[in-house]
Amino acid sequence: MLLDRFKNEVEAILSRYPVKRSALLPLLNLAQREEGFVSESAMKEIAKVLDLTPAQVFETVTFYTMFHLKPIGKFHLQVCKSLMCALVGSDEVVVWIQKKLGIAPGQTTADNLFTLSVVECLGSCGTGPMMQVNDDYYEQLSEEKVGRVLDDLKRDGTCSLKTGPFMYPQPLAK
């Protein structure tokens, strides 16, 4: 059982809320972190822990775009396509990725490494065009930078070009 393996974490989550159901999103996040998507068995397990019906869990899961009901690639490339990023070239980012990986939005590479999505605003409008890959932001993208990110991820599983604690513009040196 999934949640048994994370007993302490589950208990810590439950202890934050006076009403059990509040722990639903955190537990779903945990399940997705471990399995890569929210499986039916995970939903049933979570329902049991929170004294909910599986249907109550399912109706909540389907509201939130960040939960996947099917497995996706190891790296989820999410390119922001909202107006602010589109003004500075987000549509080109999608084309660059398509060219390099041969996948259209909604598709996964044959090696199951990359899934491409176009998404709405990720709160990075001043440093667009940008994409989120799993937990990390990559901003001010160029074709070269996108290429490097994809190469690094494929080779090392991580990439040093990700954004750290955010500040933009950087203060001028005095």
Binding site: R21, L25, V88, Y137, F166, Y168, P169
Partner: protein, 435 residues
């Protein structure tokens, strides 16, 4: 170029400042919390914040002290504070910086707020994509617990204040305060009918204050330097203090700029932002996030305060300013925003759920040169039938890109439709497919 004293970004812009507890304390951090616990009554704190004129920084601009004052004093059960860190209004990226670069500033503000409203528990509802911000906040909270600023008997006062981070999962509407509460209760994030308001029936039907990150970050400074000081900054009496404006789009230097309220859009875009990124002139700008109606170059000298922007026919909203250069098609711009609103409509109210879908389809038809002569009328009619007919303000926001672009650039819609009429085969019905 004028320079302004920064309040919220001051610390983080110092070289070497990491946002750790030691760094924050080194700049006088948590002094306000000590003052409050030692010398003040909750009502006095609320009075100071009322006097400061601070208004909510999330977008609606409701006076913060007044909001706190609505919390019933003699409620028998628990009260809650929720910090709205669901920053997802397109064009806005200030809270992300405030959280990731100086997390203790907002935590101190939250602890003071908890004291003022009598809450023992506070949640930070942070959008699910901000994993880094959530991690930084968790670390900062651990530091604050260890130092006795949070937890049981904080600073020996006998008070208990717990703060927890709660990650969302990718729904714009959860930035609406009652949708946020639904989501925090583990449900679909759909707004509630108001009244009753969260001040009396909020989280778990208990009195609850929901405040934006930037609002919280202002609180320690107001306590330290006084309500009168804060009220003297900006455009008193109604738009006091500074704002962290987020500049994006076709400008040379996009980013976060903190200035007093009341500077002009021209100053922000040209002096701070360096002007347009190419030699093309400015065509349009959005003054306060995607929900705010578009403005034109004629509005560049409008002051950036709540009242002036409202008088100009838009709103200061979340402070996200997006600039578009000449050559940007306004039908395309409206379509891009409309696709956002269509995607993010929670589906509770029919006018919004169905209306945004119709609007996107009609706009796509026009943009793809398949528009019909009556389509502009269709847009006008739809935009008149959504606002005011929904539970939350989303419906009003969703039509603003179209209403405002139709107002200022109706000719661009008509030109695309004319082109469609000229290029479409005559006397032949073009089938229209709807999903």
């Amino acid at each position: 170029m004028a320079t302004y004293e920064k309040i919220l970004l001051k610390n983080m812009e110092q070289p070497g400042y990491t946002g750790s507890l030691a760094d924050y304390e080194g700049t006088g951090g948590y002094r306000a919390l000590r003052t409050v616990l030692r010398d003040m009554q909750p009502d006095q704190v609320i009075e100071v914040v009322k006097k400061s004129g601070l208004r909510g920084r999330g977008g609606a601009g409701f006076p913060t002290g007044v909001k706190w004052g609505f919390i019933p004093k003699n409620h028998p059960g628990p009260k809650y504070l929720c910090c709205n860190a669901d920053e997802s209004e397109p064009g806005t990226f200030k809270d992300r910086q405030l959280m990731e670069r100086d997390p203790h500033q907002m935590l101190e503000g939250m602890a003071i707020t908890c004291f003022a409203i009598g809450a023992q528990t506070a949640y930070i509802y942070i959008r699910g994509e901000f994993r880094l911000g959530a991690k930084i906040l968790e670390q900062a909270i651990q530091e604050a617990y260890a130092a006795g600023y949070l937890g049981v008997n904080i600073l020996g006062s006998g008070l208990t204040i717990n703060i927890y981070v709660h990650l969302g999962a990718g729904a714009y509407i959860c930035g609406e305060e009652t949708a946020l509460l639904e989501s925090l209760e583990g449900k679909r994030g759909m707004p509630r009918f108001k009244p009753p308001f969260p001040a009396t029936h909020g989280l778990y039907q208990n009195p609850t204050v929901v405040n934006n990150v930037e609002t919280m970050a202002n609180i320690p400074h107001i306590i330290n330097r006084g309500g009168e000081w804060y009220a003297s900054i900006g455009s008193p009496p109604k738009s006091c203090g500074t704002r962290v404006f987020c500049l994006s789009g076709h400008v040379k230097r996009p980013g976060n700029y903190e200035t007093p309220m009341g500077i002009t859009f021209r100053e922000l875009i040209y002096d701070l932002g360096g002007g347009m990124r190419s030699d093309k002139p400015l065509k349009a700008f959005i003054p306060g996030g995607a929900s705010a109606p578009f403005l034109t170059p004629d509005h560049l000298d409008v002051k950036m305060d709540f009242e002036s922007v409202a008088l100009a026919g838009s709103m200061l909203g979340s402070g996200g300013v997006t600039v578009m250069e000449e050559g940007t098609n306004m039908v395309w711009a409206a379509l891009r925003l409309m696709e956002f609103f269509y995607h993010e409509s929670c589906g509770k109210c029919t006018p919004c759920r169905e209306g945004t879908s119709w609007l996107v389809q009609t706009l796509q038809r026009i943009w793809n040169k398949r528009g019909r002569p009556e389509d502009v009328g269709v847009l006008d009619e739809l935009c008149g039938n959504i606002p005011g007919r929904t539970v939350c303000a989303f419906g009003d926001a969703a039509v603003s890109p179209i209403v405002s672009t139709l107002l200022h650039w109706r000719g661009e819609y008509e030109a695309l439709i004319r082109e469609a009429q000229e290029t479409m085969p005559r006397n032949k019905e073009i089938p229209v497919f709807t999903s």
